[in-house]
Symmetry: D2
Amino acid sequence: MGQKIKLGMVGGGQGAFIGAVHRIASRIDDRYELVAGAFSSNPESALASGKGLGITDNRNYQNFQEMAEKESQREDKIDAVAIVTPNHMHHPIAMEFMNKGFHIICDKPLAMNLKQCEELVQASQSNNILFALTHNYTGYPMVRNAKAMCENGDIGNIRVIQAEYAQDWLTEDLENKNDSGGNKQASWRTDPAQSGGGGCIGDIGTHAFNLIRFITGLEPHEINAELTSFVSGRQLDDNAQISIRFQGGAKGTIWSSQVAPGNENHLMIRIYGDKGGLEWCQEDPNYLYYTPFGEAKRKITRGGAGSLQLANDVSRIPPGHPEGYLEGFANIYTEVADAIIDFNNGNYDPKKYLFPKVEDGLEGIRFIERSIASNASNSSWVNF
Amino acid sequence: MGQKIKLGMVGGGQGAFIGAVHRIASRIDDRYELVAGAFSSNPESALASGKGLGITDNRNYQNFQEMAEKESQREDKIDAVAIVTPNHMHHPIAMEFMNKGFHIICDKPLAMNLKQCEELVQASQSNNILFALTHNYTGYPMVRNAKAMCENGDIGNIRVIQAEYAQDWLTEDLENKNDSGGNKQASWRTDPAQSGGGGCIGDIGTHAFNLIRFITGLEPHEINAELTSFVSGRQLDDNAQISIRFQGGAKGTIWSSQVAPGNENHLMIRIYGDKGGLEWCQEDPNYLYYTPFGEAKRKITRGGAGSLQLANDVSRIPPGHPEGYLEGFANIYTEVADAIIDFNNGNYDPKKYLFPKVEDGLEGIRFIERSIASNASNSSWVNF
Amino acid sequence: MGQKIKLGMVGGGQGAFIGAVHRIASRIDDRYELVAGAFSSNPESALASGKGLGITDNRNYQNFQEMAEKESQREDKIDAVAIVTPNHMHHPIAMEFMNKGFHIICDKPLAMNLKQCEELVQASQSNNILFALTHNYTGYPMVRNAKAMCENGDIGNIRVIQAEYAQDWLTEDLENKNDSGGNKQASWRTDPAQSGGGGCIGDIGTHAFNLIRFITGLEPHEINAELTSFVSGRQLDDNAQISIRFQGGAKGTIWSSQVAPGNENHLMIRIYGDKGGLEWCQEDPNYLYYTPFGEAKRKITRGGAGSLQLANDVSRIPPGHPEGYLEGFANIYTEVADAIIDFNNGNYDPKKYLFPKVEDGLEGIRFIERSIASNASNSSWVNF
Amino acid sequence: MGQKIKLGMVGGGQGAFIGAVHRIASRIDDRYELVAGAFSSNPESALASGKGLGITDNRNYQNFQEMAEKESQREDKIDAVAIVTPNHMHHPIAMEFMNKGFHIICDKPLAMNLKQCEELVQASQSNNILFALTHNYTGYPMVRNAKAMCENGDIGNIRVIQAEYAQDWLTEDLENKNDSGGNKQASWRTDPAQSGGGGCIGDIGTHAFNLIRFITGLEPHEINAELTSFVSGRQLDDNAQISIRFQGGAKGTIWSSQVAPGNENHLMIRIYGDKGGLEWCQEDPNYLYYTPFGEAKRKITRGGAGSLQLANDVSRIPPGHPEGYLEGFANIYTEVADAIIDFNNGNYDPKKYLFPKVEDGLEGIRFIERSIASNASNSSWVNF
């Protein structure tokens, strides 16, 4: 087992969803120790949250600026900080910590706009920072299996990509229902000031977009987006239908929706080449369906026959014992731990690691911005 | 049991696929008697085919003109003619028979272009002809169940429609492989002279389009189409990604492909409203998935709980004993038989019958033409 | 196309289920003409039913004895008779018609007891009768594919067989609910006088048993049965759990139930050998799952890759267009038509035809009787 | 968040499977600290394993006796010990630690025979020990949902239970293939000296048995077992077909196999009552299928509509983000942590906690022993 990484966290206090997920993900392979945090933008809530998480008082900070400052002065300073706040805070927090030399694990989408992204990329390079973005679905073993199969030519030249991420929790006007348990999550995700210009496209559409790039390695050439807010009064899109012309000639669509009753987290990607097809669904992530053209469809299971070494390397238990979302997320964290150790040993090679990086985050924001631009011009094609 | 209809057929001779399907469909409920035909554009092949089908010699015709002429002069003339030729012959044949007063059962797509369609609509009206178009998927009981649920408001106001029809049989250049068994089917379907300007969009995309209109009752306002021919040298599209803005504000996409390995006849439609969602797949047609928003997903089975009367009316066997494609096709035929009897009795009411009609065929051709027009203008939005 | 067979029917009048199924099955491939019948044990109902089916008056009989007698004297006599009455009438009717030299198509189970079966076997041999039993599930193409794969050694030596046939329609006391639509079906099926000593084991368990024998070719050595009537007052079993030791060492179980809510016609068979496994479900009959040991599971589709010639020979439409129960049933009928023609031409070879025969019916009754015997001796093992 | 439990471990060193699972499970909710261990029966391997796990030298023991002795003398002694050795060591280790007052978390099956189990139950009572058995499948949220639904009467009086646990990894003679990666696991599991008299029935059949008892609350009255070793030379059963008569009249079967190609960890349970049915599969554990009799089948998802409070209490992430085997296992660990804290506070109430206990382990061994006894008397019924 490798050495433990000292982790700090900004955001993720009581009532937050994704902060708890990051913490579990960091624990699963026992590669992290959470030692410091500024867990809320509200100082009182921050301290209470940190106390509840067992953070010692002198590393339980009231705000991220104090945290960055004080941690940077400690001998036993954190190795990395996980940023799990609403989107609009990613940029200032990441800049602050990068300027102090800390590695970053940041939730997606990376920032509010391309300009911020470029500053983050720039700062990561100039400060020599390892910057991971938690597009966690890239951590699923069968997603990596699909990526390797594309690279191996198992499906030939890729022609068609159909990706979709559908949910139903915003079918009604949840953001204005004060009595709802989901209210807080709905409110910031539908508020342009906290989320940026993309609603469902930024919240989940970017995951689908990232997954396409991750698995196929293809980059968009032109994009066309139809964004809709179906719920009356909603400020951001809750349904997005997007077409992509990829460099090299492949064609793709992304459908992303938060108003599709019967869909919980239906993220699906289907990839068709001139030699075969691949199909994967996030809700049943241990299965990858592979059809070599002219042969019967095969169900490749995580760890089973047809599961490749790179997939098995990020598996913990035998086939038939399902791993899920948290294990996929943990794979990102564990890779980052390995990368930090390599970094500290002076032999960090980004190509060795599959976790998404700040540059992928920039592409994600470009996806959102170009989609909004297309939508604003009657959903015409725009360059990517 | 109702009275038997005397049926003639044009096309559908030896080696054809869809003609045999029409014949089985006409037999399943014992409502038709096939008594005449001109089964091929090649006179010798026509006669041989008719002989093989047990047609008496004097009603086994060498060509459709002779058939229309001679049948019109018989006392025991046919009641209706089934047209199951390649697309380019639909119009001349239907015109010939309508002018002689025969009812028409025509395969889809209706014709080669809108102008032909308008003539057919016009001729059907002026000659008082009952004209059915075999968009057979409308005959599946669970498709009708979905239609009724939409009308009943079970899913509320419809917002999003995702339809797709994917196949893989044209992944390779089948039309130019002379040794292939599928060759004949591939050749005419990829030949503009026989199929019209649409390839996969006309062959299968129109089915998806028709299914949307049939189930939801929605009509398009604007359309946007990206048509691609992936196989080198292919003259018509083999992949189509289409967006639709419906009248009233719903949004939809249709993906249609014949180059998606692992898909045989994957026709799927998903419909989401503000109160619930419906999902149906042609390959597993006895199941309709229904999610009332906020409740668990339900699997409605043909004839089982939640299966409505209009669905049960077109079912023959109990739930759990699957009906398939031929039974759905037969439902169209049986309805047409009933309609002809009503017609002969002077009380035909087209609203009473759900089978697609010549006007639906016109909308299908409009769909193809507007898609081609959009594609020709860099896949921009065009009015429907 | 082959010559048409002249068919008569006994039973299957108004309100019956299986008679209509037989008639559709006989029509699908256009190989039969229904020309005579005695459609009910009630003479008035018999005549009314025959009239509704378009039978000419002089061949629309009041009872089966009259029918056998008069048909035997006609020049244009029927070739075969379909017996679709409740079980207790199979034997007398079949004997009557065999003695007059007619071929038999009989619904299952064959008779009320082994003694009757032996007489039927004997009579079929002495009268040189072609006797088909409609264990219709043997007509599904993918069932035949499984049979051929077992014979080909694709799964090696068979070790374990798990078969089950579960329904839920008798969960409540339907036979005594007079207002229920299912009442008539429930009443005779739960009445020992009409059904014999087996309830659910005879109605559906025999199907599972026949399927095992058909696919694997294995014969039982010993059997052990636990039969239960869960519904208070029910005279016959509504749940059966059976273990089988096969000749040669394979082991199997059959679970059969009519009180399992959520199961419509859940007939499933799973077969495991030392080289692979096969899994098939009647409710999704176009799919056969095959796992060569150590490889990924494959989904073989009817007519698709991996679908063998003998399966394709009994298919009508391409893969992805589902065929169902009626088509499977039709395959039995069509084979019988071919067999009768061979018979008439003097070259009938029973090995050429896969449809179940009177001898299989005898084994089915032996299965019921031995199960009842085991159950009566505290579910101990009995010889088969 | 509750207080952390100090955990020791016996077994689970390098190359072991289940030890690593226990460690991850203990970490997921951050309720445990692994502070001591004797990780192998081989002292060198034990020390190396502990070192790799970051155990401080003075608590990294060469054997379990030393560990029990020295830990019992520490001020900061462990709260509980996890026993993750092959089966034959469970009893001596648990006895040793219980006699020193330590709480126990023990892998299943509990021991080698009933006598050992009775001693363990006795020792746990006399020493006032909290003894948890990791029948981990009881930790899945949807399993608990099923249990609550049975208790709530949602399916009425239970009549029929069909449980099965099938694997395929022992299809070949893996225990004697020295070059195989699975060799070590296969060897001890097929060796009576290490596993006890049950092979697949003990390894996985007991899980199915425990699941029945856990969900339904039913206890067996009589049992009948057919155990087979299909692989030549194998000393223990690799396939088991078991029938159970439950107290109160329900009937059930368990099929357990390790020679069923195509099955990885196919643990499925189906429960049918007079008001409805429930169906759950371990490989897709986030779904519970529920059919109220006479209504459509519903797919209840973890955390979604129909998911009850007790299920949601052991969930970490929203519906549609799958949890898996490790999370279910973690639920057992987290409950035990809560139970130990209650225990230390003097208010431990075993009824409050659902994790399986030593008494359940005894029933599991009784199941194995009675199955072996039945099998030895020609698979006749024996009292439970």
